[in-house]
Amino acid sequence: MLLAPVVWALTVAIVYFFAAKTWWFPPPINQHGIAYDAQFMRTLIVCGVIFFLAQFALGWVIFKFRDDGRRAVYSHGNNKLEVIWTSATALLFLALVLMGTKIWASVHFDEAPPDAIPIEIMAKQFAWNFRYPGPDGKFGHTELTLINDAAGNPYGLDDKDPASTDDIVSASLKVPVGKPIKLIMHSRDVIHNFFVRELRMKQDIVPGMEIPLHFQADQIGIYEVPCSELCGLGHFQMRTTMQVMSEADFEAWKQQMAANK
C-alpha cells in the first residue's frame, strides 16, 4: 500500500526533471540539430505520457485493490481491450520511428554536397588528428612506415608526393561557419567515436574502414569532441575541440598553418 505513494512520488520527480530541463542538451548549431530536438520532444511527449499513465495506473491499482475483505473479481481478461491497447502502442511506436527517418536519411543516405570541404580524421589511442588537403585540393600519399608521432607526422605523409607537401595536419578540428563539411574518418588502431553534442551527431571510427560523415555548422564557437567509443585506458582523455570560425578566420588559420610547416 505504501508502495503506491512511493511510485507516484518517483514518477512525479522524474517528470519534473524532464520538464525543468535541469540537465539538458546544449543548444543545437544547425538545421539538423533543430530537427533532432523536435524529434526528441515528440518522443519525449509520447513516452512521457505513457510512462506517467502506466506508473500512475500501477499506483492506483495498488492503492484501490488492496485486500479490504472483498472477493477478487474472477476474470481471465478482455480480448477487445487487449487488441485496442496493442494496436495503439504499435501505431504510436512505428509512427515515431517513421518520423525520425528523415533525420537519419539526411545524415546517412544523402551524399555530401559536391562543394563540401573534405577533412580527413585520423583517430588513434588517444588523440585526434585532422588533415586538410591544402591549396591543391588533394590529400597526399601516406605510408604506414613513415608514421612518426614524435616528429609530427601522425598520418605518415610522404614527402616525395607533391600532393602531400601542402597538406595541413591539426590536432583540433577547425571548420568555416555555414559551409558543408565532409569528414572522412579513419582509425589507426582501435575503434573510436567522433561526437559533437551541438551537432547532434556521432559516428564510430573503425580501423580498416573509411566512413564518411557530412554536416554544416551555423554557429561560430568552440565545441568539445569527447571520444565516445571505449578505446583503451586513455579513453577519458581523448578529447579535442571543433572550432567553428568565420570564413575569413578559417582561411587565415589555414595560411598560418601552412606557413608554420
Binding site: 500500500m1 512511493v6 485486500d67 473479481v73 474472477y74 476474470s75 481471465h76 533525420i103 537519419w104 574502414m209
Partner: protein, 591 residues
C-alpha cells in the same frame, strides 16, 4: 506427455559429496546455481561501488585498492586501466554469472520440473555437468584479476581490435583478455547443455493433464529463454573461438590490416572486419537481454496473479507475447550498431523491428495492471518485488523507444542514457524478479519463512535506491556524458554533471549497504525462520501441493494429474479462493 519413468528408479543419494557437491538432483543443482549467482552478484556489486567511488574521487588514496591491486593501484590511487578492468568484470560477471544464471539455471532448475509435475530434469548428469562447467567458467573469469596486467579493459562487449591483438592495446589485454574469452567460451558450453536440458524437460516430462496451455507462465519463460540460449550461445561460442584464434594463432577474422599501435606496425593481420565481431556478439547479445529478463517476467506474472487472488489477465496473450519477444529478439541486434559504420539502410529495418518488440512488452505491462485490477492484493515482500518489477520494467522499457530510433541514437549512443536504460531493465528489473522469486519460493526451498519486516525494509531501500542511482543517468546522458570514462576532468562540459555523479554514488553506497539486510534475512531465515507450511501463499501451482522442502523425487512416487489451469483464483462457487492445478475436475468440466 510421457510420465517421467526414466528416472523414477534412482534412489536418493547417500553421502555428502553425492548429495550436495556432485548432485544429480535438480533442486540441489538449482541451489548451487543460486549461490554461485549470489557470490557473483556481491563481487559485481562491490566492483560497481568501487567504480562509483572512483568516479567522484578520482585522486583519492584508498587502502583497500592498494591491498587488492598492489600493481595497478600502487599508492591506493585507482589507475584508468584498473577502472576499466573493474568495469569490464562488473559487466561480464553480472550479465553472465548473475542475470543468465540465477533466474534461469537457478530458479528454473529447481522449479521447472516441479511445476510441470516431473521428478527431475530430463538429463540429470548433463545438468550436473552444466553447473560444474559454469563453475569452471567463473573460476577462469576470476583468475583474470590475478594475472599479469590484470583483468581486461575492453568492456563486457569485448570489441576487437581492442580485445583482439594483445598487450599492445593496453594492460589487461594480454593474459587477462585471453582468460576472459576462454571463460566466456566455457560458459557458452555450459549454457548450451542447460538449454538442451530445459527444452527436453518441458517438451517430454510434463505430467498427465499438464497441457502446454496449462503451464504456469514461469515455465513458458524458462522454455523460451532456453531456446534463446540454445541459439544465442552457439553463436557467441563461435565468435569467441574466432577471437581466440585471432589472438593466439594469427588469424584475421576481426583484425584488419594496416594497423599502427604503440609506435609499431601490426603486420601479422590483414583483411579482418571489426564489425563482424559486433554482428556475432549482438546476435547473441540482444537475445541475452531477454534471457535475463524473461524469467523475471514469468515470476512477476505468476506472483501478481497469486497475490492479487485473480487469474492472470490474458493468459494466452501473455504466452504469445513471450513467444514473439523470443522471436523478435533475434531480429533486432543491429540496434546496438546504429553508429558502428554498418550500412545505414539496414538501421531502418532494425529500428522498425525494435519498435515491434515494444508491442509485446506493452501487452505484458497492460496485462499485469489488468491482473491487479479488481484484485484483492496481499502485500507480502515477494509481491512488493513483483510490483517493483512492473514499475522498473516500464521505466527501463520506455527509454528504449528513444534508443531504438537511429535518428535519436545519433546523440544517445554510448552516453549514460544507455547505461541508465539497460541497468533499469536488464539489471535491476531482472534482479527484482530474482528477489521476488527468492521471497516467494524460499519457504518451499528451505521449509522456513523469511522475515517480512526485514524484507520490506530491504525492498523499500532497494526500490527507491535503484531509482536514485539509475534515473539520473538518463539526465546526464541528455547532457552528453559519455560512458566508460574513469574520470570526468578532461572534458569541460562534464564539470556541471559532477554533482549528479555524487548523488548517484551516495545512492549506490546506500543501496549496496541495504543488500546486507537481504543476506542476513536469507541466512538467518534458513537457520531460524519459522517453519513453513506446504502452501503458505495459498497458491495453485504444483510445487505448493508437496511438502516444504520437497522430498528427493518431488512427488514421493505419486504421479500428479493436472486438471486446471495455473491461475484459478477466486473461482465463483469454489470452496476456497484458490483451485490447485491438481484439484479434482469441477463438474461440469471446466470452461
Amino acid at each position: 506427455m510421457s510420465s517421467p519413468a526414466a528416472h523414477t528408479a534412482h534412489h536418493a543419494p547417500q553421502g555428502f559429496i553425492r548429495k550436495y557437491i556432485f548432485s544429480l538432483d535438480h533442486k540441489v543443482i538449482g541451489l548451487q546455481y543460486y549461490f554461485l549467482g549470489l557470490f557473483s552478484v556481491f563481487v559485481g556489486m562491490t566492483l560497481s561501488v568501487m567504480m562509483r567511488y572512483h568516479m567522484v574521487h578520482p585522486d583519492a588514496k584508498v587502502a583497500i585498492f592498494k591491498l587488492l591491486w598492489p600493481g595497478s593501484a600502487a599508492g591506493g590511487i585507482m589507475t584508468p586501466e584498473l577502472y576499466l578492468s573493474l568495469m569490464t568484470m562488473h559487466g561480464t560477471i553480472m550479465v553472465f554469472f548473475v542475470l543468465t544464471t540465477v533466474p534461469q539455471s537457478g530458479f528454473g532448475n529447481y522449479f521447472l520440473p516441479i511445476q510441470i509435475g516431473a521428478e527431475d530434469m530430463a538429463f540429470p548428469v548433463l545438468n550436473m555437468m552444466s553447473f560444474w562447467t559454469t563453475f569452471l567458467a567463473l573460476v577462469v573469469m576470476m583468475a583474470a584479476f590475478f594475472v599479469q596486467g590484470g583483468a581486461p579493459l575492453s568492456g563486457w562487449t569485448g570489441y576487437p581490435p581492442l580485445s583482439g591483438i594483445g598487450r599492445i592495446t593496453g594492460p589487461g589485454e594480454g593474459t587477462g583478455q585471453t582468460l576472459w574469452i576462454v571463460s566466456i567460451a566455457i560458459f557458452c558450453g555450459a549454457s548450451l547443455m542447460g538449454a538442451i536440458n530445459f527444452i527436453a524437460t518441458t517438451i517430454d516430462l510434463r505430467c498427465k493433464g499438464m497441457k502446454l496451455m496449462r503451464m504456469p507462465l514461469t515455465c513458458w519463460t524458462w522454455l523460451v529463454t532456453a531456446i534463446l540460449g540454445l541459439l544465442g550461445f552457439a553463436v557467441l561460442l563461435a565468435a569467441g573461438v574466432l577471437l581466440i584464434l585471432d589472438r593466439s594463432l594469427g588469424t584475421s577474422f576481426f583484425i584488419p590490416g594496416g594497423l599502427f599501435i604503440s609506435d609499431q606496425i601490426i603486420s601479422g593481420h590483414k583483411g579482418g572486419s571489426p564489425l563482424l565481431w559486433q554482428h556475432l556478439f549482438w546476435f547473441f547479445g540482444h537475445p541475452e537481454v531477454y534471457i535475463a529478463i524473461l524469467p523475471g517476467m514469468g515470476v512477476t506474472s505468476h506472483l501478481l496473479s497469486t497475490f492479487s487472488r485473480k487469474p492472470i489477465f490474458g493468459y494466452k496473450a501473455m504466452v504469445y507475447a513471450i513467444l514473439s519477444i523470443g522471436f523478435l529478439g533475434f531480429l533486432v541486434w543491429g540496434h546496438h550498431m546504429f553508429m558502428s559504420g554498418m550500412n545505414p539502410y539496414s538501421a531502418m529495418a532494425f529500428a522498425t523491428l525494435t519498435m515491434c518488440i515494444g508491442v509485446p512488452s506493452a501487452i505484458k505491462t497492460f496485462n499485469w495492471i489488468g491482473t491487479l485490477w479488481g484484485g484483492k492484493i496481499h502485500f507480502d515482500t515477494a509481491m512488493l518485488f513483483a510490483l517493483g518489477f512492473v514499475s522498473l520494467f516500464v521505466t527501463g522499457g520506455i527509454s528504449g523507444i528513444f534508443l531504438g530510433q537511429p535518428a535519436l541514437d545519433l546523440y544517445f549512443h554510448d552516453t549514460y542514457f544507455v547505461v541508465g536504460h539497460f541497468h533499469m531493465i536488464m539489471g535491476v528489473a531482472a534482479i527484482f524478479g530474482m528477489f521476488a522469486g527468492t521471497f516467494y519460493w524460499f519457504p518451499k526451498m528451505f521449509g522456513r519463512m523469511m522475515n517480512e519486516p526485514l524484507g520490506k525494509i530491504h525492498f523499500y531501500l532497494t526500490f527507491i535506491g535503484v531509482y536514485c542511482i539509475f534515473t539520473p543517468m538518463h539526465f546526464i546522458g541528455l547532457a552528453g556524458n559519455p560512458r566508460r570514462y574513469s574520470d570526468f576532468s578532461n572534458v569541460e562540459f562534464l564539470a556541471n554533471l559532477i554533482p549528479v555523479h555524487q548523488f548517484m554514488s551516495y545512492a549506490a553506497y546506500i543501496t549496496a549497504g541495504a543488500q546486507i539486510i537481504f543476506v542476513i534475512n536469507l541466512f538467518w531465515s534458513m537457520m531460524k525462520g519459522p517453519k513453513a507450511p506446504a502452501n503458505p501463499w495459498n497458491a495453485t501451482s504444483l510445487e505448493w501441493g508437496i511438502p516444504s522442502p520437497p522430498p528427493f523425487d518431488n512427488f514421493a512416487g505419486v504421479h500428479p494429474v493436472v486438471n486446471h489451469g495455473p491461475y484459478e483464483y477466486s473461482v465463483p462457487g469454489a470452496p476456497t479462493d484458490f483451485t490447485m492445478q491438481t484439484d479434482p475436475p469441477t463438474v461440469p468440466a471446466e470452461h
